[in-house]
Symmetry: C4
Subunit: 367 residues, 4 copies
């Protein structure tokens, strides 16, 4: 017995630890940090730990189909890259590295309004890749409109409207380490684009959410009309709002608490998922991000009814570790682990995952 010669530098359980040394401490605080005391950040991961799976082992099945449909379009895998800002802070190739790694594997990726490359540069870095454009609503509606139109022109296939950042959360870890969001890396989409407000406006004892304010339901219709693209609403934790979003034209929602970076104390996304699936799952797609790390996490979310799951920090970790190659290694490992999970579950496809694979809490399953 000797160490396997071709063993990769890290595997999924090593990824986070391995990445820490690859970036500056303030950038690490930006990647890792949540808001406040980081309770929601921890809960997002912890909620997956509380679920148990009940595999079938006598099904005799042979093939494993990882493909599914996002917004009616076939995708190779039920996970996608969630939008995160400023990727050139993490690796010089930034979003281009992510785009190439994803396109080479048929993995859909969403790109942030605050990408460090322009949305057109990203598109041309990996022409064949499936991609969504994430929109931070802008104070000037014409800037929002311009971004949406550019995304439509550049071949993005959906607009993901982020609704959970009326103002930035209290990002204490990041502040302590001095990470500045207006650092040397400019916003790739141009000088007209604005970051979300860092602080509320104040007028005596009243505070005001600065423009553009919180998202209004009518805005969803506007976004859809500008680019002719389906609209996803990202940042939903409640069934009533998921229902309202769909009634105002959303093609789906992303159950998200912004990776624990906005309201500390917000419910874990996995805990919020099933009531939202029950409310809109037959009419619309329900995505989830927050806490997804491994193949079995994906299976849990899909068994609860998610259409697909987004990956945030793990992409940044692997980007930091190895640029395009690092992201590719992560995506390969994750896809492989998801396939392995399906094999272990005795489930022939991601489409066949349902709640019968989950142990009831306090029931026959663990905890």
């Amino acid at each position: 017995m000797s160490p396997t010669e071709s063993s990769p530098r890290w595997n999924l359980s090593d990824l986070e630890r391995a990445a820490e040394g690859a970036v500056r401490p303030d950038v690490w605080a930006y990647i890792q940090g949540g808001s406040g005391d980081e309770r929601t950040l921890r809960e997002n991961v912890g909620a997956f730990r509380r679920r148990a799976l009940l595999p079938r082992t006598l099904t005799g099945a042979g093939t494993l189909d990882l493909g599914t449909r996002f917004l009616g379009t076939e995708v190779a895998v039920p996970f996608f890259v969630a939008p995160t800002a400023y990727q050139r802070e993490i690796h010089p190739d930034g979003e281009a590295a992510v785009a190439r790694a994803c396109a080479a594997r048929g993995v859909l990726a969403a790109y942030s309004t605050l990408s460090s490359l322009s949305l057109e540069q990203i598109a041309s870095a990996a022409p064949g890749g499936a991609r969504w454009f994430q929109l931070y609503p802008q104070a000037d509606p014409s800037v929002s409109r311009s971004l949406v139109e550019r995304a439509a022109s550049a071949g993005y296939s959906a607009i993901v409207v982020t609704v959970d950042v009326p103002v930035l959360g209290s990002r204490d870890r990041q502040s302590r380490l001095g990470f500045a969001m207006d650092g040397p890396v400019p916003i790739g989409n141009g000088p007209a684009v604005r970051q979300p407000a860092r602080a509320l406006d104040r007028d005596g004892d009243r505070y005001r959410v600065p423009a553009p304010g919180r998202v209004n339901l009518d805005f969803l219709g506007d976004v859809g009309s500008w680019g002719g693209l389906p609209v996803l609403v990202k940042g939903i934790l409640r069934a009533d709002e998921a229902r309202a979003a769909v009634e105002h034209g959303a093609a789906g929602v992303v159950v998200s608490n912004h990776g624990g970076r906005q309201l500390d104390g917000a419910a874990a996304t996995l805990d919020a998922l099933s009531v939202i699936v029950d409310a809109i799952g037959e009419r619309a797609d329900v995505f989830l991000d927050g806490g997804v790390r491994r193949g079995s996490d994906i299976a849990v979310a899909l068994a609860l009814g998610a259409t697909g799951v987004g990956l945030g920090r793990p992409i940044l970790w692997s980007l930091a570790l190895g640029g395009e190659g690092g992201v590719g290694q992560y995506l390969d490992l994750l896809r492989s682990e998801l396939a392995n999970t399906l094999a272990q579950l005795g489930c022939p496809s991601v489409a066949a995952l349902d709640r019968s694979f989950l142990a009831e809490r306090g029931g026959s399953g663990s905890e």
Copy 2:
């Protein structure tokens, strides 16, 4: 990217750690310590950790109103400074520093019978400040009466009668470090004022709560008649007693276990809150102290039905760190964080917080 130049010395998550080095070890033990094994002290904080919030993100609202009414009077924020004794042990300016920081920001503060400055000195340190007087019932009723009358004359707007100190609890941490409550700082309100008894009287196998004994319901009426001020009863953890207090004339209660300093093993205040709100919330104000640290904690307590919340240790930490400036920084950060929390919750005002913002335990929310 470089560290923000104007970053304050600490933020809310650093406050406790930062304060430790600013006082003598025995004073730190006094500030931090609870009774017994400090279970209730930990539970007060832990009870907030077990709640999860369900933000609304599609409400479109713009302004955020932090104001509310305490005992029918408008206040700028739904938090107040809970009464704590001997503040000159912690900073040479003592209660005057707190009073000035609060008055400058329209924050109501309650001052202890055992303040190190007299209630009149406190009032004149910050003439415009809203303030309550906390009364430890005195063995000699005329001393209690005199204190209440002085408070009324000096512009205090309510009397907070503490009912959970028939005798001091077993403050082991403090005892170990040798903190002496009869130390060099005299009681500001004069030599006639007595501290609560440190030990029970004993007569053979029977013990007796020394005068003034536990508070009798009739006493509440007396206090109200002496100064003509509304009476709050502080130290209630049970619905039956909250109801009795209101039936005997109390304008409200403070759900409190004395910051975990009296009966170790007493229920956490947040756990006790909702049944008390259900019992008296329509007729009287229900305040809470114990475990409140951050803006999201305030939102949780108010969503459960609290009228407002009191701040104990955080005020002492910030007083130790910077006197008036430190307290002011804390109050500013907390107000700002509460506004941020309302913004994240999609809730236009503290008055609009209700239980629909809380995830049911074991339900769709976390845990």
Copy 3:
């Protein structure tokens, strides 16, 4: 402020830590150790941590009566010293120190069959003390009878029959440190007395509990007839067996798992208490030992319906620290803390403690 000059060397929260240095490591392992992986040992203490108290603070009561009745006889406090063996391993004065400390304070103590002094020596060390004799049933019934008759003659007022040691449990910690139960300290009650068997008899694939075997219900009647004393059955965790014991003449039971030293995995005593109180509480006394450390623990057990509680390890800790003086200090601190707890609870007597002082789990109280 300077450290209080007269502060005792330890308080209740320091006791365990302080004691560790006062004995040899193998004796410490004997005192502290439980069986197996010490889960039951930890659970005994942990079960108290899971309960929360709901004090009354508006009751106006003044006197606090700590007295109650054990087996119909008045006792000064609702706690007693549980029987533990070989006390001269821990302090040269052994049981005499405990007896003197207890008698001086009106605290009942139970003494083990395996005491290092004879039961008569113990009686004469503290003639006025209230005491029970704990009986390990002996293989030779005449030895049991002789012990019971001697106890009756020497003024012991009840026989506590231990039923949970058919054979010693797996005391791994103790074994690892090499504590030998047949060490240099002889059994005070004479050479005819036998320790419980350390191992089962084996016959091929069958094991046999060596004589005297497990206690038979008829034995309880025999014990009662030998000395004319009331019989308590110690080591009960089930309502059915509590009922059977009382139907066979027992005056009460001690809910006990032998301090976590017998069956590791056995339920915590506090968890087992309430169903036993419900089954026999109106007809017989229900004592509890295991996990009691502080005054509030006593209040919790009594509120659940216990008649009184036994103290095991804390007595050994305080004996190790200071012989008679140490035990006395512990008893004084505990009595004082119980009185303080009653005062905080607004409860005039231990007899008035009932379940209304306990928060329902998952209800309005903590956890």
Copy 4:
């Protein structure tokens, strides 16, 4: 008092720690590691910690019968050695040491398809021993058939068909330490025998479980017909599959998640046990492995309805520590502890264990 001279080198609570130093780090990773983040591995053990036992102490019984029936045949104890591969990696004597230790004590052992000695060598190492043969279904059915026929000829009394390894799980700890499953120790059962696949086959976006694929229910009938031996299905966590297995001729099932080495996130075996017992317990034997360490664990599993329990890692630990002697010491300690547990429970035989010995969760028992 001096350390007992004849004390063994370790007791049950020391076993794991003691073993760590006895093997190479990569072999230790192989023994200890589970898949993924090792949640299921921890949960298997943790599930036993959450149960509490309610001993009977007034039953008067004397003998303790540890014998039971496995598949209708009497066995001396209700535990057996679960199949584990490559035992010569751990100790030069490998399976022969285990076989001799077991045969000398009447303990049944199951041997892996991947044993480092041939099944015939194992049989001849301990001719009188009761043994089962564990079958990893082979891609070439004739290899499976040959193995089953050889096992029948060599006196194995049942075939344990493992169904939870369609492909190996993600064994991260093992991979990190470089343990190679195709190391220098050859497969004892001959070159035709294949390990389970380490990776899935991939065809574009589809994955395929490589031959032999997941077990088909018809295969169970084939295995039974080949050797004329009863068939156990190992790797069941669901009642529906337990029922299906029995309906297709299985004589019983082993509730197992492969010791947490296959699907990380799978339910703990103890949590899955009772619904399976309820489904098939009257018609078939229900064994369990995973997390069993001590005598009280065995009692818990049997009280929930298990016929017997398998031991995995503890056998490898004791094998590493002392070969045949080490395994023998472990088996002796475990048998002795199980007898002790029965004695403490007041239960005359393993057959008499039932759910009345378990505290209900949230009920009268702990937690």
